[in-house]
Symmetry: C2
């Protein structure tokens, strides 16, 4: 896709994740995972988000969010995330520790800005409309209008999640669990006890 070399050799667990995505695709919810963050006060937060594909490095996971959302503030203060992704068809879980970075209208390289625009263009009108609503979490108010534009709004942010450790648990048949960790740009893998 691109001639940019990935920052680290590919991780085998990521190949398994891609296989899981393919094997579970008949359910729309196979693209939903749970994303945990930590607040400034040290509380855990957890929400379901939609996987929007990989970045050009084929390793970094992409999620869209409202720049006014709590998770953007949380990750700005503490960039650590953990994904819990359970695939209902193949009965396997990926726990992915990741370092986050957020691409909003005012930040990022030219490449990041292009990626943000590309993801925006792929959205449905319904998905786009939310970025023109009042701030998420505010009391419900009147005056919510269904406006949507081709131009990327300031409220549209792209969250990049770069994996640093992956725990792959397979529940079907015999339970297996494998832990992969990125150390000095190399992935180290080990079978561990479930």
């Amino acid at each position: 896709m691109t001639d940019t070399a990935p920052s680290a050799p590919p991780c085998e667990a990521l190949a398994h994740l891609k296989t899981a995505l393919r094997k579970n695709r008949r359910h729309a919810h196979h693209r939903y995972f749970q994303l945990a963050s930590v607040t400034a006060e040290g509380y855990p937060r957890n929400r379901t988000v939609v996987f929007r594909g990989f970045a050009t490095d084929d390793q970094t996971l992409l999620v869209i969010t409202d720049s006014r959302s709590d998770k953007v503030a949380e990750f700005a203060q503490n960039g650590a995330a953990e994904i819990a992704w359970y695939f209902t068809e193949t009965r396997e879980q990926f726990r992915i520790r990741a370092v986050t970075s957020c691409i909003s209208g005012s930040t990022g390289s030219t490449e990041d800005a292009a990626l943000r625009e590309q993801v925006w263009r792929q959205l449905s009108d319904a998905a786009r409309a939310q970025f023109f609503w009042r701030s998420p979490g505010l009391a419900l108010g009147a005056g919510t209008t269904l406006v949507t534009t081709e131009a990327v709004p300031e409220t549209f942010a792209l969250l990049k999640l770069s994996p640093v450790a992956i725990d792959h648990l397979v529940l079907s048949k015999v339970q297996t669990r494998r832990h992969s960790q990125l150390i000095d740009k190399h992935w180290h893998e080990q079978w561990i006890n479930p």
Copy 2:
């Protein structure tokens, strides 16, 4: 079921959760949710767990775990949890902030000990067997035997999750989101912007 008065008036969002459990029951995964915690170093952790029902107060959620697992240590140090529970059939999410307490072999009231034993008795042999394995997360070793007993092993712990705030997001049809918060033992509810 019991003549113990609940510690707070029932929360309407919990009634919706019970309805969701009923409406989604044809999929075994309707009982799986993602549970986030925070490590001593301030990192988020997230994993899929199985809902084992409510405690006798009909509000506290129950989850079983190995007393040697990381989450037991994490919650002992920081008792705050957030559950993200997505129901695939009815397309709705409950985010539940909860205070955790852990009932292991050596802790808890007589009532807690009875509850722990009751949950153990309801487990399948396969579910029980895991508590006789080596510590979860250790390198996979030989000598894992399938022993299981009627007596509750020391490694079997029951995690109690008492909700303090619930965010209910409904994706089907028109998106709605309602936030419920426990303040001074009373639930306060508000419709908010998704």
